[in-house]
Amino acid sequence: MVAQGIPEETGYILFLFAATILLVVVVRLVISPRDPRPTPEKRAPFESGQISAGPGRTRFIIQYYPYILMFVVYDVIAMFLFAWALNLRALGATGTVPVLIFMVVALPPLAYALHLANQRENW
């Protein structure tokens, strides 16, 4: 009942998880040196030697947020294209017409989005 090949892949991934976590635990407990009284400088974020000013997680790159929105929608569209591409030899030209209309409807918003992205004051 299960799809072919999935149990092997899942077993492989679980084995990798177990092996890597075992490695990290063994390294942490047995190998790495530990400092019982770390100084405050040691525990501060590294930032390649600079003295950090202000909290981390402050600089957001918001101006490209619309690209993520477009990405989510066109990801779904790509999924349907895979279903079409798989069977093209059987579907032929007549079967491509629904998919062609699908793409014709779904592509103009992309042009609109890129046109909006040109106007920098919006984002």
Partner: protein, 165 residues
């Protein structure tokens, strides 16, 4: 073996969904949502629907969860109000909902929903593709209209929010 896998996947899905709702730190909640979607993908694979399962991982976890994560990190720990505490009402709602879903499940399992066994010729990959495009072509067009509206709507919302600053 299949039953064991189903039990494990169901437990993972339900537990991480509860975690996604109840987690104090929203980033943990979004990550738990991703694990819930992973459990659902596992259930799809268990039903031999590997195409749907693969794209569940790719689209849901790869795009939707990442969008949610980005938004949660943007909003940060300073939320609006703390969640409402309605213990008794939520308990009543949970009981009623489980009764409803349990009854629906019991009724539909004996009904005419085709199980994975009697799927006919439309269940392998080639059949899926042919059925999707030949039989459900009109629905496909409506779907593309919905997606186009989603793109334009999301962009308009994002745009006006910036202008309102």
């Amino acid at each position: 073996m299949t039953d064991l896998a189903f039990l494990a996947l169901a437990t993972v899905t339900v537990t991480s969904s509860i975690l996604a709702l109840e987690a104090r730190d929203l980033v943990y909640g979004a990550a738990a949502l991703g694990i819930a979607f992973l459990g659902m993908a596992g259930l799809f694979f268990l039903l031999d629907a590997s195409y749907v399962g693969a794209f569940q991982i790719a689209v849901y976890i790869g795009a939707v969860v990442v969008l949610i994560l980005f938004t949660v990190m943007l909003v940060g720990p300073q939320l609006g109000e703390p969640p409402l505490e309605l213990k008794r009402l939520s308990l009543l709602a949970a009981t009623l909902l489980s009764l409803l879903l349990g009854t629906a499940g019991a009724v539909s399992s004996a009904s005419a929903f085709p199980g994975p066994d009697n799927c006919g010729s439309g269940c392998d990959l080639v059949g899926l593709s042919s059925t999707l495009i030949n039989q459900y072509g009109v629905q496909l067009e409506f779907l593309s209209l919905v997606l186009a509206a989603a793109v334009i709507g999301a962009l308009t919302l994002a745009k006006t929010e910036r202008k309102a600053e």
